[in-house]
């Protein structure tokens, strides 16, 4: 830590990253709860996820306001500037993550009205667990500025894609087997897609962390799976 001449400047920076971590924790819980609401057909939990999303929006606005204020008043340089900017960007990613979790919760309300499909919801649970672990890793990387963890998260994105593709197939089999399940299966498919996008946001955040720590952009191509025909 480089000590700043004005003490409150350092405090402001700390406050900013503390709020991002807090927001991350909230987003993590939103994803975990949304997936649990799907798995247990828990309507009350789904509704609380939907309500809590507002808090994430507020936090994002707050972080943005603080970051802009910091840039305007303190003119941060070098690593401080990167810290400020990446806090803003990560907050945006987390807010999107929250939105996707909220969408999963909304869809879980719809499918809880139809027949239980334990096989499918179990797949969602497994995928959700994987995505949660990536979110957790990326936030751990952020709080400790750990590049190796960020790198590992970044390079393991294909795993989530594999799960998504497997689910896509599974859902097709279901829908072909019984057309009455099509509406519920479509919702499950969107849930899987949302989880996959949360995984993408984790990758994004890993890139922001890399930028914050090193000051360099990621040069490599993102690992991608191209098994799916366009």
């Amino acid at each position: 830590m480089n000590p700043h001449t004005v003490k409150t400047y350092g405090e402001e920076l700390d406050q900013l990253s503390a709020e991002v971590i807090l927001m991350g924790g909230l987003a993590e819980a939103q994803v975990a709860d949304a997936v649990e609401a799907v798995a247990r057909r828990d309507v009350a939990l789904a509704q609380s996820v939907i309500q809590r999303d507002q808090r994430l929006d507020e936090l994002e606005k707050d972080i943005e306001r603080k970051a802009i204020r910091l840039i305007a008043l303190r003119q941060p340089m070098a690593s401080d500037l990167r810290k400020t900017v990446s806090a803003m960007k990560i907050a945006t990613s987390l807010e999107r993550t929250g939105d996707l979790a909220k969408n999963i919760a909304k869809r879980s309300l719809v499918i809880s009205e139809s027949e239980p499909m334990s096989g499918l919801t179990r797949s969602i649970e497994r995928m959700g667990k994987l995505v949660s672990s990536r979110l957790r890793d990326v936030l751990d990387a952020y709080k400790g500025s750990k590049l190796d963890i960020a790198q590992a998260v970044w390079s393991s994105d294909t795993e989530v894609d594999e799960h998504y593709n497997a689910m896509f197939r599974e859902l097709l089999t279901y829908m072909m087997g019984d057309p009455r399940t099509i509406s519920a299966c479509t919702h499950v498919l969107f849930m899987a897609k949302n989880l996959e996008r949360i995984g993408d946001h984790a990758t994004n955040m890993a890139e922001h962390i890399h930028y914050e720590v090193t000051g360099e952009d990621y040069m490599n191509e993102r690992p991608k799976l191209t098994t799916m025909e366009p």
Binding site: E11, L22, G25, E28, S133, S155, S156, T158, L172
Partner: protein, 493 residues
Amino acid sequence: MPDYKPPAKHYVPLGGILAFAGLILMAAIPDFQPYTAWASLILVAYGLISCYSRLQTYLEVQSAKPATEIRVKVQPEGPSFQEVLRAMPDPVMVVSGLEPDDIAGRWVVFANKAAMKLFRMEREGGLLVSYIRNPELLEAVDEALFGNVSRSTVFDETGGAQDRFWQAWTSPLPVEGTGKRLALMVMRDETDVRRIERMRADFLANASHELRTPLASLSGFIDTLRGHAKDDEGARDKFLSIMAAQADRMGRLINDLLSLSRIEMNEHVPPTGDADIPLAVKDVVDSLTILAQEKGVAISVVAPKPGLFPVVGDRDQILQVVQNLTDNALKYAPEGSVVEIEVLLDQALPQATAPVEGQASRLMLLRPDRQLNDVYTVVRVRDHGPGIRREFLPRLAERFYRVEGQKSGNKLGTGLGLAIVKHIISRHRGGLVVESVAAEVPAADGLKPDRVVPLTVDVKTWTAFSAYFPQKSVYGQVPVGPRALEGGLKSAG
């Protein structure tokens, strides 16, 4: 412990001065007016009263002081409270806070060893949010800090390789006086209770669902034997052997379910003791040689000498991992092929699980939590069966999952083998990776899952399972010699 504060002594002289001033006022003013008399009287009275009360509190504190001193004296002989708390098995934390809206102002001022382990803390203090992100828990801490509310919260550790559930009690601590607020947090592991609950439900659901089919077939045959097949000698023998096979299957299913439950029960308790993977491989190969010969499959082993390179683990469970993986490979290995078992030391966990160059698809079925020294011993079991296509890989370790198109026919499995392997490895904090090259299947319209997988010997297709077990330390250069099993090879040749 509250600090001992000396009484404000200057109040005593102040009271005296006031009383004295009153007296002088009375004496000095020549023409005696009623209001000056009253004013001076009030001054004297007030001075005296304040003198008296201050003196009294001073005396009280003085009389209480010896007791405090004795308490202080006792402490250096025994362990301090902090040491006692540090040794507690349950996580304990003390958090301080300044203002409700200042998140960066919440600090962990004390954490015992268990808490440091639970929240993966590198030091005893630090910013609260950098260790705890769980919103419910943070809210409970806030309520204790600023709302003086004590309560208990249930929270789960999500995202890790093992699920754990905790109950946390948060309660306010007496304020120090500087405007700083303190809260105490004590946690208790509730994983066992939750696990038992969930497992009972899982076991019942699995057992009732999976036992129904063989049970139905058994009762069907019993009806037939009682009915028109009563006197048919040939049919009776045939039916009885089918019934015996079904009963066998039910027995195996129950055994597997029970052992899966047992392993799941202890999954969050890491094993202690040493296990020797090369020895386990040797034992398994010895016991499976006859089966392999019957099938016309050879087993080749490349492993370091047994007895030199132990990993932390439960010997029986590691044996079961090797056993299940080899069983599985033998099941899908076509006649005349080789099942290869390899033991590698000092392997770093492959961080990139992206499919490697070429055709092999590769997926991590179980990823361990990050540790400081990531070195693993790997057991890799490879068969040259038809391979598993990429889209089926993610569901492999699911219980009762069967890859589409794979005939279960004569292959007697319960569908629990890989699930057991996964849970054992998870208990050992290891990892499981599957790699496979599957036979090319002409893609139809891209929508229909292709159900036909050719079951011929194809050198190009293979499936490999690699189980990673954490090592205690790096072993360095290890001589590895090929050790083929003659028995198995002969039958293949």
